[in-house]
Amino acid sequence: MLQILRDNWVLFLIGQYPAGPLGGLSATVLIAVLGLGLSFPCALLLGLGRISPFRSIRAVTAIIVHTVRGTPFLMVIFWSYFALPIIIGHPIAGFPTLVGALVIYESAYLAEIVRSGIEALPKGQIEAARSLGLNYRQAMMSVVLPQALYNSLPTMMSQFVSLIKETSLGYVISVNEFTFAAAQVNSRLLTKPVQVFSILALTYFLLCFALTQSARAVERHIARRRREDPAVIRPLESFVVEPAP
């Protein structure tokens, strides 16, 4: 197994680069970071829309969120890959397709995390903010969101882990990320699937496990801070479990 690693580590790590686009594990990380960065603002908007005082906004965002969450991620990828070029008029490469699909899919999930973070805040906080005369936007920006997002940090970190796992589906549309790179190595070597896929699985495991443990550490830290605060009344939180891809 070590031999395979030694021979193929470049392919695993960066794909065909510089002979082709960036691939392998680097591509996976890049796609994941882009996906997270771009989906976060969308998720914020969607999440705020879900609790908007206007019924029409609440309805529209609810439909969007529930539809996306009820669809398999692979189908979202196919929508982006096959249907989107027809709308736009010209073909789109796999890489941006994957990122786009991730943004759509993750925005819906992160939106729900944002929403439950806001709703978990004691009602007294927004009452105090509004009583001071702050309007809805000021109250959200200064009082509610800073607290809600901080409290949701562990859950969002574990959602990032799911994101990383979801990038592997780029394999199906031939995006050269880590899983695809491993499949390439496997088809070249042909007789060593156990070793190749073990390397694949082990690497994902190390990456995701490290992140999951960090998320749990952050959660413990936040829980400790809450317990030490006499003025704060909070509901019990569950331990961090990251959802399946």
């Binding site: 509004r130 006499p230 003025a231």
Partner: protein, 241 residues
């Protein structure tokens, strides 16, 4: 300054405020008391529209609180509100809690707002806690910061919703003494409380409520010695035991 005109409110089928008619004059201190469920907390929360009403009008400084034509945020910035659970913002320091409204609503600079805030903190006896966080304060200290925060916009009216009910007994005194000082400063004040000794000392008038109506509206001297309504009499006698 604050007038209730035929104010009624229902929670579903239950009527929690029944045709309230009353006035608080400028500079007056009114204490509202009564058994639980009497509607006293609901009443005070309708003044800055934390609770809606279904019937009647509430007029504060000439403005109809529950009318859609009123600029609610502007109105609220002119009314200080102190909650039973303090509701300080835990992610901000004490001084940031106090300067938040002056900075966002009046556009004051951090320095100008902080200077005024420090004076307020000194007034409530917490000058040294400016950079502490709410999580580091005791209940009594938190409530005093909440009072300073409510005063930051220099409102002509301040409302207290059971300010000492969530405090350990030994901290009640420090908060009450701050409120007493405030009462003598000429501000218009309404306070919902169970602390009858406090009421006797500072109130210009006492409103006794039961089941959504004001049964007694009298100065302390009359209320404590000769309450009219039998329910009020019972309330007072139970207090003494």
């Amino acid at each position: 300054m604050i007038s209730f005109e035929n104010v009624s409110k229902w929670y579903g089928a239950h009527q929690c405020l029944a045709d309230i008619n009353a006035t608080v004059n400028s500079g007056e201190v009114v204490v509202v008391c009564g058994p639980s469920g009497s509607g006293k907390t609901t009443l005070i929360r309708t003044i800055n529209r934390l609770e809606p009403i279904q019937g009647g009008r509430i007029v504060v400084n000439g403005q109809d609180v529950h009318s859609s034509a009123t600029d609610l945020n502007r109105l609220r910035s002119g009314i200080g509100f102190v909650f039973q659970q303090f509701n300080l913002f835990p992610h901000m320091s004490v001084i940031d809690n106090i300067i938040l409204a002056p900075r966002k609503l009046r556009g004051l600079s951090r320095e100008a707002a902080s200077e005024a805030a420090r004076k307020l903190l000194a007034r409530v006896g917490l000058a040294d806690k400016a950079n502490s966080y709410p999580g580091q304060l005791s209940g009594g200290q938190s409530q005093r910061v909440a009072i300073a925060r409510a005063l930051a916009m220099d409102p002509p009216i301040i409302l207290f919703d059971e300010p000492t009910s969530a405090l350990d007994p030994e901290m009640v005194g420090e908060v009450l003494s701050v409120i007493k000082d405030l009462a003598h400063s000429g501000i218009t004040m309404m306070c919902v409380t169970h602390e009858m000794g406090f009421a006797r000392e500072v109130a210009d008038r006492i409103w006794f409520m039961d089941r959504g109506t004001i049964l007694e509206d009298a100065p302390p001297s009359e209320f404590f010695s000769r309450p009219n309504h039998p329910r009020a009499q019972r309330f007072l006698s139970e207090l003494r035991h």
